[in-house]
């Protein structure tokens, strides 16, 4: 940045800060953060966004800027770590690089980095990180093959570092998600041998022991996850109920003159508002088919778990929300309306869950 542009940027920052001092609104915080973006000082951006979000929690623009700045900060750390690794490769740097990549959600890069580490130095730690990266891919994409590979890698890591419970925890997460409670109990028993008396693991062990009669084989559990896109410990699989009252929401949506029909499906049951008889049945079946094909296609394509589909044509628009509590659809006369999409996400419990899954991995 030239001297002149630096000078003018600082002047604009001071002006934005004065406006913020006069009125600490979310817009003024955003304006200050944007001025810092121009200068490119990530620390200042994060500081302003953090302060703004503490006063205006949930502000979308501040969250977006903060997330972007955090991502850039992590990118910068990744570059530094890679340079350091070329000069002097050592386990602490490999470990941090893998952790940062996993935190960024660059799961494939994390696995490749762990493989490089394993090729160069070997050892249980690198195998553990390979298992962890692959397990994260499994939780994000619901592919049975990823789950199996992650399980095998974790098993290998357990053999290579027998006194460490981290690979066993990877195995526990996979077996729990697959509903393989017998395997989960075995893994927890080994974890408790390593760290006896740990209250969380003891609680998990009791839970797994209670559910062991419902246990599936690991292979069957993983195959079921791939087919349904749901984990055995998800609310829907456990027969959990959405916290929202579905019928009133469907009725409220159906009362909108722009809406032709609203449909909610869970398992083999469908609630249809706005259509009757055979038309309702056929429409519900079509929505179900679109939902099923979308879930499986998203996994095959490799874009993670599907959250929403919207289809537009001469018929109007069909918006389908795919969540842990089922599938909800709205057939409207015109374009997808954000308020309808939000209501559908609330019905299926996907508005938070879906993003959280993506972000956590």
């Amino acid at each position: 940045m030239s001297f002149f542009s630096n000078f003018t940027s600082k002047k604009r920052i001071r002006a934005a800060l004065r406006r913020l001092g006069a009125e600490p609104s979310a817009e003024n915080y955003v304006a200050v953060a944007r001025e810092h973006v121009v200068v490119g000082n990530l620390q200042d951006i994060l500081r302003v966004c953090s302060e703004g979000l503490s006063l205006h929690p949930g502000n979308a623009e501040l969250m977006r800027i903060a997330e972007r700045a955090r991502q850039l900060q992590l990118d910068s750390r990744i570059r530094t770590l890679r340079q350091d690794l070329t000069l002097s490769p050592r386990p602490a740097l490999w470990r941090e690089l893998c952790d940062v990549l996993l935190e960024c959600g660059r799961l494939q890069h994390a696995e490749e980095t762990a493989e490089q580490w394993w090729n160069q130095a070997g050892g249980g730690e690198s195998t553990f990180y390979r298992a962890r990266a692959r397990a994260s891919q499994f939780f994000q994409g619901c592919r049975a093959s990823d789950g199996k590979v992650a399980w095998d890698l974790a098993l290998e890591a357990v053999r290579e570092m027998p006194g460490d419970s981290r690979p066993l925890e990877v195995q526990y997460d996979i077996s729990k998600a697959a509903g393989a409670w017998a395997e989960a109990r075995k893994v927890l028993a080994r974890i408790l041998e390593i760290s006896p008396g740990h209250p969380q693991h003891e609680q998990r062990f009791r839970d797994a022991s209670q559910r062991v009669h419902d246990s599936k084989s690991l292979r069957a559990g993983l195959a079921e996850i791939e087919a349904t896109g749901r984990f055995a410990d998800s609310p829907e699989a456990n027969g959990g109920q959405s916290n929202v009252a579905i019928r009133p929401l469907l009725k409220r949506m159906g009362a909108d003159s722009d809406v032709k029909a609203v449909i909610f499906q869970r398992g083999g049951t469908a609630l249809v508002q706005g259509l009757h008889g055979g038309t309702a049945d056929r429409t519900a079946r079509a929505v179900r088919e679109v939902g099923v094909s979308t879930r499986s296609s998203a996994r095959r394509i490799g874009i993670g778990r599907s959250l929403e589909v919207s289809v537009e044509g001469e018929f109007g628009s069909l918006v389908i929300a795919l969540g842990t509590m089922g599938t909800a659809a709205c057939w409207g006369r015109s374009y997808r309306k954000p308020e309808h999409a939000d209501a559908l996400q609330t019905i299926v419990g996907a508005s938070k869950a879906g993003h959280a899954t993506g972000g956590a991995a």
Partner: protein, 171 residues
């Protein structure tokens, strides 16, 4: 055609833009430069070439069209699939579709006018014979199926009025 696609991927949040024929063959594609050395892949999950994405997306579009076709709704002209890692936006036109891969935090609605413009340019490009057309020799819109319950052939019909943007505005 490539210029049109290149202009789309210049926008932040658009990973790639492709023109794909309805049978899943990639006609042309452009991938955002901001993605660094892994620009030729769809996602971080797997090294999927853009051809695979085209084929799988076409398959999904066919399944969606078949499902809603049973309701005699006609074929879709715009589909959005929002997932945790990426968002796919499809805009169908004569015998092909324009496919954008977006970041998950980008609102697909923001791409609507961009895609409308791009599709109009692409259709003009195809009509003037300036590029590779997937339906060359057909001489017009994709042919209708013998039965109204075969919607896959309708996917290529833009919308009433023959213009993507006009129809999008009417519906």
């Amino acid at each position: 055609m490539r210029q049109i696609l290149n202009s789309l991927v210049q926008y932040e949040g658009i990973h790639s833009a492709s023109v794909v024929s309805l049978d899943g063959v990639l006609v042309a594609s452009s991938i955002g430069q901001a993605n660094g050395p892994r620009e030729a892949t769809l996602s971080d999950h797997e090294d999927q070439p853009i051809q695979t994405l085209a084929a799988l997306t076409s398959g999904w579009l066919g399944e969606v069209s078949r499902s809603i076709g049973r309701l005699s709704w006609g074929g879709p002209y715009r589909c959005v699939l929002r997932a945790t890692q990426r968002t796919l936006v499809i805009h169908a036109f004569t015998g092909s579709f324009l496919l954008l891969v977006l970041d998950p935090d980008v609102d697909p609605e923001e791409t609507r006018s961009l895609m409308d413009d791009a599709v109009q340019h692409l259709m003009g490009h195809i009509q003037t014979g300036g590029g590779h057309s997937t339906d060359s020799g057909m001489g017009g819109p994709y042919p209708q199926g013998a039965l109204p319950s075969q919607p896959t052939t309708n996917v290529g019909i833009p919308m009433p009025g023959g213009s993507i943007s006009e129809s999008a505005g009417n519906s």
